[in-house]
Symmetry: C2
Subunit: 140 residues, 2 copies
Amino acid sequence: MEVSRADLKQELIAAGIRPSVQRLAIFEYVRQSCQHPTAEVVYEALCDELGSLSLTTVYNTLKLFVDAGLISMLTIDDTFRCFDGNRKDHAHFRCNKCGCIVDLKMKNEFVTLVEGLQGYEITDAQLYLKGLCPHCCVKK
Amino acid sequence: MEVSRADLKQELIAAGIRPSVQRLAIFEYVRQSCQHPTAEVVYEALCDELGSLSLTTVYNTLKLFVDAGLISMLTIDDTFRCFDGNRKDHAHFRCNKCGCIVDLKMKNEFVTLVEGLQGYEITDAQLYLKGLCPHCCVKK
DNA sequence: CTTTGTGCAAATTCTTTGCACCAAA
DNA sequence: TTTGGTGCAAAGAATTTGCACAAAG
């Protein structure tokens, strides 16, 4: 499952994005993370490693990746945006109690569920479920 | 399809919410609107009608309704929140070009599409599709 | 009277912008 | 040497908070 830095670098180049040190580090971090990090979290995590990094660069870079379709932005929590490097088709669940965000596998593609899409061109889809996660259900 | 003010008032009372003039007007507006208004839009629309109304009250009230499960909040556009009074199970589409947000009918419930929900308690679901609407597809 | 609702102004937070400096092709 | 990237400080925008006054039970 682990992808090499060289592969990630190639992926950036293929998308027409120059692989600067910052960009590659941010790309690697978001792609390998299972945590759906916010820009702030990415920044904190890479600050030391990179020696120099600004939050502005993180914001710029994440936006660049989203626009290029390399990662996606989640708005499942209305109080912050987070980012997802998982390229597989999947849904998201957010626990109302502990705030965890987890990936869920799909039985089928999103659009199969929707009627009347004639004439639409769909480029992105997100299914957000909210409630209580198994852990929080128990001690409810 | 049109619901009377009296019915909406009863619905508020049933939810344990006192039907003040402002609350009833906001509730009616969001329920009857097909436009997925933002707090700002609700405010602008009702300012004249009510004579006195503050944006704070609109924010407070919409939050109250969402928490009571009377309406839902959409985060399909990451730059603003909007609200939806449509109680039927449906998905949303947002056009990347013109910004319109439209309701889409579902063939099935959201959860039927997702695997591994054992142990989860789902209280809310949103399916967001993005791309180009038929109108913008044509003149693309 | 006592609790609840409203609304102004100020504060907060997340994100973007303008601009100067730096780095790579 | 020209184009593109980074990062600081400041601006911007959406939402929330604190507090005083008004209204309803």
